[in-house]
Symmetry: C2
Subunit: 534 residues, 2 copies
């Protein structure tokens, strides 16, 4: 999420989510901390969107509940957003405004937004030029330059050139692939690979890709039509996107090609292709279930060709490998990453970024969207092209880049960062809860319960010890017995010393028992003493 | 670990460990289940080793405690093993026999083992031909074919050819890189890249790589000598390997080059190189500490060149990225994977595997060492070279391949699999404990304690509820209060129905409270009811 502010007006660009890091145990989603928007609610004029990926629109249901301002986006982007807003029950209370990839809109007193078409791994992606009284900012969105795009429309360089001729203050450019030399390959390349797979496959084809990659899905439909196969769509998000994209005209499905999952049994293996979710090895996804043989309706048959038309997103490598291994074990022939041309990126490589910088000729460069290392690489590209080092900004989350007449600088920061979503809870899980989950996950917990007599602290019942996630119960009986003695001794000692405060008793139990367990097991389970009184 | 058995004799090859999978929460190491060896102790003649990597010798301290049989390995392999046995306090009770890379040894009545040199990412790696009355088996160990190895010794194809002329029953070959076309690059390539980095670096160089890659470390020492830099070795395993390798003559360190970490301050930045652990972004390693600015002695200085001469092992990608991002943030110039020639694999690619198969000309092929997908690729290579499909085996862990006069087949399996090591516990953490840790890690725990009157089940104290890893305590007060009421109501209902069994009461509490919490939070914390009696 980016915020452009001029005097009393704020324009918001995108509102994405990220998926939890490995150490965010039990967390479902991570959304931006948008306190700055709720604190400045009256300033916010609108939210403008670049494209419909989760990391650009996924947090909007949460944002719009508190910051209900008009949203502007292209047709498919809004189509995908609508589904989310419906699920959250706020669709009818939000104003959605459809724009064209060549629209120019005026927002508030100060902002003019000129959209321009960019190529990306989802249709209807746009970048935008935001003209303010202080100058024009160009935000590329996520982009690449595809000279042979599936829908025939390339990144709109003539419009970008036209806008840039007026002079551009700052370029905010997608740095995701700034490490990669050369040019990113065209989506058409994947189409060619898919077509070749269709030509050769003798039995069923099962193809997994990102649900939002509508162009790739289109190419699968095209090959299916060409080789006379029926297409069956599988997996919740895949069904959802195929429905929205074909309703809105972004997916062209020949009549009679699409069949129901229930009907695949009616066709011979060589007459069918399944398009499915699960290209990231997600444990609950359709392809993973097939690989584990617990899909309700599809069983992998030896001779199936399974195509994973995607690269693993960083962090998913092992899940994807597991799925591939399991598919091979069930006798499928699996085509994946190791075959070139089965996936291409949606982000610009070095030479494309240079081209963008050359056309825009910005005074200031702000690499965005990548990890820090990617931003650094784009900064280096910028430097190599003559942008002064001082004119390139690598802001942290929340940093404010202030542009004044003759200079720009990082001028402090506003509240920003992550909000963790766990179930229905938004922001109720923080560092303490995560630290506890971490400790619980490593060595489990021992609960020590003891009932004391009021006043005397004489033990009336217990100590009882219950453990979970620590050791096998049947193997730990002796250990538990010894632990009870340790607790009794700690309490006796406290009584001898006339220590009566429960907090003190609990510390004594925790310390003594923790030490004793570590000596015996080299583990540090959480110890939770509970004292009752009668 | 592989077992070769003939009549009443067993020969064991290697005994490695693996690092825990993501779902093995809190586990330190995974070793093979070697019950088959303890069950057949008198049959076991010896353990022969291919090389000194953890995944080939790491489980031996555990194995040798119960299966104390003579070990055969090359000098460096045994040098590395010795350190482990010393830590476990069993060095003096184990017989270690040093072999040469061209040794032939007789083991028991039936086995003749002919070692042969192979190239790998650690010196002194060997493969072996094991001749039994039933024929000869060739086990490649981990290998590649390096035509320009750092130590001048290539994989010993003349010896392999000689042995193979007598006819080879089965080839067990390293499949790790069977997906990769062409040839794996020479380790010398990395030397060239490192040398170029030394030529250009204007300040300190900090280089991280695998501690066991002694050849790569040698090349760093060579470049340091050439460009007049002192070398400082950093990180426990790096110091350990450098000591062992230089003592045993595998690492040639020019006099005066090595300096102490304490003394780096005495030199100018351009006069120093640090070799360090942490190439995998391991949280406690030296490089990660530097990146996080919590290394006790080394602070990253803007202008440092940090070189990560390694690829991330699958599963470590995000840790490595995090380290790189943090190093960039501290102003270092970081050179890593995205630069070609900074790492090469130690495993044979497709063309090398073909060469091995062509020289050995085995009757049977058994792909080993890789994931299943890698084994499948090697199987395909074998098929493409004319080995009959029925003569290629892809056994599961524990499967027995039985070779008889004219055929081979998978003939059942023996007990095998994983044993989890957690602290001092070997095998005391199993599925139930892991399942509990998983649940605890996702949504935490609620402990419900209540003291009942003997006989009447009247509530005498409580219910008290303590939670960890569930929600912030200050935000959950209301929820906890409501939960207590739910518990009291469940217990009242049980008393009304005259249900007195504690197990029943606990089920009632767990069900009612679980339902209530899920409705309110969409989370499923572990609920642990504890009943005391007075």
């Amino acid at each position: 999420m980016f915020v452009v502010e001029y005097k009393d007006e704020i324009l918001v660009i995108d509102g994405g989510l990220k998926f939890p890091e490995e150490d965010m145990l039990g967390i479902d989603l991570v959304i931006p901390d948008f306190t700055y928007l709720t604190d400045n609610l009256s300033k916010v004029q609108a939210i403008v969107l670049t494209h419909g990926h989760e990391d650009h629109i996924g947090a909007l249901p949460f944002v719009l509940k508190q910051v209900n301002k008009p949203v502007y986006g292209t047709k498919l982007t809004l189509g995908l957003l609508e589904g989310k807003l419906r699920e959250h029950g706020i669709l009818n209370s939000v104003t959605l405004n459809t724009v064209q990839a060549i629209s120019t809109i005026k927002i508030g007193k100060y902002f003019t937004v000129e959209f321009f078409k960019v190529n990306h791994s989802i249709p209807d992606a746009v970048g935008m030029a935001i003209t303010t009284p202080a100058g024009t900012i160009i935000h590329t969105g996520d982009f690449k330059i595809d000279q042979t795009p599936v829908d025939g429309q390339t990144t709109d360089f003539s419009r970008i050139s036209e806008i840039s001729k007026r002079g551009v203050l700052a370029l905010l450019a997608d740095s995701t692939n700034a490490e990669r030399p050369g040019f990113t390959m065209s989506e058409k390349v994947v189409g060619g690979t898919i077509d070749e797979i269709f030509r050769l496959a003798k039995n069923r084809i099962i193809l997994a890709t990102f649900a939002s990659n509508v162009h790739r899905i289109q190419q699968v439909f095209d090959s299916a039509f060409k080789y006379d196969r029926k297409v069956c769509v599988n997996g919740r998000s895949m069904v959802n996107v195929v429905n929205i994209a074909s309703e809105l005209g972004y997916l062209n499905i020949a009549k009679g090609v699409l069949i129901d999952l229930e009907d695949i049994g009616k066709y011979n293996p060589e007459e069918v292709v399944l398009i499915t979710t699960g290209s990231q090895g997600e444990p609950m996804s359709a392809l993973t279930r097939m690989a584990n043989s617990d899909h309700r309706k599809v069983e992998i048959i030896p001779g199936d060709t399974v195509v994973i038309a995607a690269s693993p997103i960083p962090g998913n490598e092992k899940l994807v490998s597991k799925t591939i291994n399991n598919l091979f074990k069930r006798g499928a022939d699996v085509i994946y990453e190791s075959v070139s041309g089965i996936h291409v990126s949606g982000h610009a490589s070095k030479e494309e970024l240079k081209m963008m910088i050359n056309i825009v000729k910005p005074k200031y460069l702000v690499p965005i969207h990548g990890e820090y290392k990617h931003c650094i690489h784009l900064a280096k590209i910028g430097e190599s092209m003559g942008i002064e080092k001082d004119n390139i900004f690598l802001p942290d989350i929340g940093d404010v880049i202030e542009f004044s007449k003759d200079k720009a600088r990082i001028n402090g920061s506003v509240q920003a960062g992550y909000i963790l979503v766990d179930g229905l809870g938004v922001g109720d899980v923080g560092n303490i809860v995560l630290r506890d989950r971490k400790q619980l996950s490593l060595d489990g917990i021992l609960v020590v319960v003891v009932t004391l007599q009021k006043g005397t602290n004489k033990i009336m019942a217990g100590p009882d010890i219950v453990s979970r996630g620590f050791v096998y119960v049947r193997e730990s009986e002796e250990l538990i017995e010894e632990s009870k003695q340790v607790v009794t001794k700690s309490l006796d000692k406290c009584r001898d010393k006339n220590i009566k405060e429960w907090s003190q008793l609990k510390i004594a139990i925790r310390d003594q028992l923790g030490k004793s367990l570590y000596e015996k097991t080299r583990r540090r389970p959480m110890i939770l003493p509970i004292i009752m009184e009668v």
